[in-house]
């Protein structure tokens, strides 16, 4: 289990870096959503199902959606 955790953390950090590095805002927003989703897995692992549910629905779900809406109403590429 520890190794799975390690892997998740690694992916999580890499997604974060990718989110900040990509020029495409949509993929960046999705990456941030992925980070949230992975973090919610970690919450589940540490005995916090309530938090995991919230993080998944609000952090990964709704936040990403409003980011996408905002991107759609402005620009999709970082100039």
């Amino acid at each position: 289990m520890m190794y799975l955790d390690l892997l998740v953390c690694l992916v999580l950090v890499l997604s974060g870096v990718a989110a900040m590095n990509t020029r495409n805002l949509v993929s960046a927003a999705v990456m941030v959503g992925v980070v949230s989703l992975l973090v919610s897995y970690l919450f589940l692992r540490m005995g916090a199902p309530d938090v995991a549910m919230t993080e998944a629905s609000i952090g990964a779900g709704l936040s990403t959606i409003i980011f996408l809406i905002a991107i759609r109403r402005t620009e999709e590429e970082e100039r």
Partner: protein, 122 residues
């Protein structure tokens, strides 16, 4: 390497997320990207708080089984979880407001570059 506990792993990850997020805020000039950076840092903070209450030897603070009810000391501290819940919702609120600002600022200048929004200074 046996010193690396799950808590250490989570905390370091959380700190990295905070730093990556703030780096996005400080280095990327696109205001939408800056908001994304804050969202990332917020996630990191949430992970950090939750980790502070975690204990791999205990289970979730839901006493829905008689054996847990008999021995409540098997569950983890519920307070940090409650705090994280609140923090997540507040984070969403702040993000929503920031995005509303981004949309309006874009309508104002047709640009998302932070440097275009510095008329007031000194």
């Amino acid at each position: 390497m046996n010193a690396v506990t799950p808590a250490t792993l989570y905390l370091v990850t959380a700190i990295l997320l905070i730093l990556i997020g703030l780096a996005g805020v400080l280095v990327r000039r696109n205001i939408l990207k800056m908001v994304l950076g804050f969202a990332l840092a917020d996630t990191g903070i949430n992970l950090l708080i939750a980790t502070l209450g975690s204990n791999p030897e205990r289970t979730a603070p839901i006493l829905d089984k008689p054996e847990l009810l008999a021995n409540p000391s098997l569950v983890v501290d519920p307070i940090p979880q409650a705090l994280v819940l609140t923090a997540i919702v507040i984070g969403l609120g702040v993000t929503a407001l920031m995005l509303a600002y981004v949309i309006r600022l874009y309508a104002l200048r047709q640009s998302l570059d932070i440097r275009d929004f510095g008329r007031l200074k000194w």
